[in-house]
C-alpha cells in the first residue's frame, strides 16, 4: 500500500453529529409522501389513467359487448364491469414499473440508498403510495362502471369485500411491477416489459367467458391468478345471476385469489428486496 503524503495538515475540524437516520415507518411514509405529491402535481398522469380506463370500458361495453354471450342470465354489463374493475389494478401497476425504472435511471434511488434509512423503506414507501393511487384508480373505475349501467346485486358487505380484495390483489401485483422497474434499467424498457401483463388481462375471465375460449388457451385462462381474482369479485358483486355462472362457493373464489395474492407477494416481494439489496 502506497501512502500518499499530503502537505496540507488537517486543521481540527468541527465534527458534525452523526445522522441517526429515520426508522422504517417514518422513512417509508416519507418516501410514499413524495410519490403522492408527484402524482397529485402531475395532472396528465391522473387524466391519462382515467381516459384510458374510460375508453377501455366504453369499447367493451358498447363495441364488443353486443357480440359476447355471458353463458347465463347475467347481462354483459354486469359481467364486464367486475372484470374491468379487477383488472384496473394491473393497468395502474404499469405506471409503477416505469416510475421505479425512472427513479433508478435518474439516480433518485441511489440517493435514497445512500441515506441512513432502512433500504426496505424505499420499496415499502413506493408500494404504499402506489396502493393509495390504486384505490384512487379503483374509485374512478367503479364510478365509470355505474355510469355505463352496472348495478350491484351482492350484499353490501360482499361489495365492500370485493373492493378490498381488489386493493389486496393490486398490492400483491405491485411487486411484480417493482421488480420489472428494478431490472429494466429505463422507463421505456420498463413499459415494454410491463406489457407482459396484457395476456394475463385478456386471457382471463375479465372480458369474455373462459368457456368460449379454444382448448389450451382455455386451460391457461382458467387457472391463472387474474381469473381467480375476477371470478371472486364477480361472485361477490353480481348476486344469484353471477352464482349461476360460477359454480363454487364465494369462499372458494375469494380464498383462491387470496392464495394467489399471497404467493405473488412473497415471490416478487423477495425478488424485489434481493435485487434492491444487491450492491
Amino acid at each position: 500500500m502506497t501512502d500518499i503524503p499530503f502537505t496540507a495538515p488537517s486543521p481540527t475540524l468541527p465534527r458534525a453529529a452523526v445522522n441517526t437516520g429515520a426508522g422504517l415507518w417514518v422513512s417509508s411514509l416519507t418516501v410514499a409522501g413524495r410519490m403522492l405529491r408527484k402524482f397529485a402535481r402531475t395532472p396528465q398522469l391522473i387524466a391519462f389513467t382515467a381516459i384510458q380506463s374510460a375508453l377501455f370500458l366504453l369499447m367493451f361495453r358498447f363495441a364488443f359487448g353486443g357480440a359476447i354471450r355471458t353463458g347465463g342470465s347475467l347481462s354483459y354489463v354486469n359481467f364486464l364491469v367486475p372484470g374491468f374493475i379487477a383488472t384496473t389494478v394491473l393497468w395502474s401497476g404499469m405506471g409503477a414499473a416505469t416510475g421505479v425504472a425512472e427513479d433508478v435511471d435518474h439516480g433518485f434511488v441511489d440517493r435514497l440508498r445512500s441515506l441512513p434509512i432502512p433500504r426496505a423503506a424505499v420499496l415499502i414507501g413506493r408500494s404504499l403510495a402506489d396502493t393509495a393511487l390504486l384505490v384512487w384508480g379503483l374509485v374512478i373505475a367503479v364510478v365509470f362502471g355505474f355510469a355505463v349501467g352496472f348495478r350491484l346485486h351482492g350484499s353490501v358487505s360482499g361489495d365492500l369485500a370485493a373492493f378490498g380484495l381488489c386493493v389486496v390483489f393490486g398490492f400483491a401485483f405491485e411487486w411484480i411491477f417493482i421488480v420489472i422497474g428494478l431490472v429494466s434499467g429505463n422507463a421505456q424498457a420498463a413499459q415494454q416489459m410491463g406489457l407482459v401483463i396484457t395476456p394475463l388481462v385478456f386471457l382471463s375471465s375479465a372480458y369474455v367467458p373462459v368457456a368460449s375460449m379454444p382448448d389450451g388457451v382455455r386451460q391457461f385462462s382458467q387457472f391463472q391468478p387474474v381469473t381467480s381474482m375476477v371470478d371472486a369479485v364477480r361472485r361477490l358483486t353480481t348476486g344469484r345471476q353471477g352464482a349461476a355462472l360460477l359454480p363454487h362457493s364465494t369462499g372458494h373464489y375469494v380464498g383462491l385469489s387470496l392464495v394467489w395474492a399471497a404467493a405473488i407477494f412473497v415471490v416478487f416481494g423477495s425478488l424485489a428486496v434481493l435485487r434492491f439489496a444487491r450492491r
Binding site: T7, A16, H106
Partner: protein, 313 residues
Amino acid sequence: MKRYGKTQALAGLDLVVRPARVVALLGPNGAGKTTFVRAVATLLRPDAGTLHVDGIDVLRKPARVRQVIGLAGQFAAVEEAMTGRENLEMVGRLFGLSRKAAKAAAVRVLAQMQLTADADRLVRTYSGGMRRRIDLGISLVGTPRLLLLDEPSAGLDPGSRIQLWDAIRRLVSTGTDILLTTQYLDEADRLASDIVIIDHGTVIAAGTPAELKTLAGDDMIEVHVRDADDLPAVSGVLAKLGHDPRVDVPTRRAYVAVDDGGSRLMDALRALDSHGITVEDVSMRRPTLDEVFLSLTGKPAETADSPEQPADA
C-alpha cells in the same frame, strides 16, 4: 483518517487520505472515479480490498457509513414535482430529523445555496445550475462529515459552474470534508486542497494542485505558425525554454511546458523573431488535463470532451 483500499474495478487504487478539506479525484472517463465514489457511498460492494471512511469499515458496517456521508451524483436526483424546500425537508426527515428540525435545516441549506428566493417553486421550473445546487444542498441537510460529489459540474454552463463552485467553497468554510471527482483540472485546481489523479483505476499522481502543476510545468507556451515547415525550428527554440516540446503538425502548433511563464514568453518571442519565423499566434496558458496526463503517463488522456482542449485561436 480515511483509508481507501482497492476494489476489483480499481485494481491499483491504493490510497490513504488524511482528513483534508477537499480532495479531488481527477481522471478521464472510465478511470474509475464513479466506481470509487459508489463504493464509498455503499452503493456497490468492492469484491476485494478494504475501505474505511472516518474509521468505519465500509464493507462491514455500511449502515454506519451512511450516517456520516452525503452524496450528490452526476444526475440531479431531486423530485421535480416538489419545491426546493420540500425536497430538502423530505431528505431532512430521512436523515432522522424531526419535522421542526427538518424545516430549520431546509431554511439553512436554502440560504447556503442562495436559493431562498426560489425555495417554493417546483424544481421542474429550475434551471440546470439551480438543480445542481439544490441537489448539492440535499446532501447537506444532514450535515455529513464527508460529502461525496461525483462530477458536480458536468454539463453545466460556465456561469452555473462558477456559482456551484462558490457554493462548494462556502461549504468548505463550514467544516465539511469533501471528496469530489472531476475530469477538469481547473475544477480540481479551484476547489481542492489535494488532488489525486487516477487512470484505469490506478493512482498515477497525488499532491497539492501546486505540486501537480510543476509536474507538467507551470505554464504552457504555445506557438501557432503560418508555415508547417517552420515547426522543427520552433521546436528547437522551445526546447531551450522548457522540457520536451511537442509538435502538432496538422494544426501547425508547437508547445512546451515552462516554469516561469511570463519571462519565458518574452524569451520565446525574441528567439522566434531572431529566427525570422512568421507566427500566427503565440499564447501562454495553463497546462490542460491532457498535458498533465501526457507528462505523467507519456500517453494522451482518453478524454474526448475536455473543455481545456486548446481552442482554435
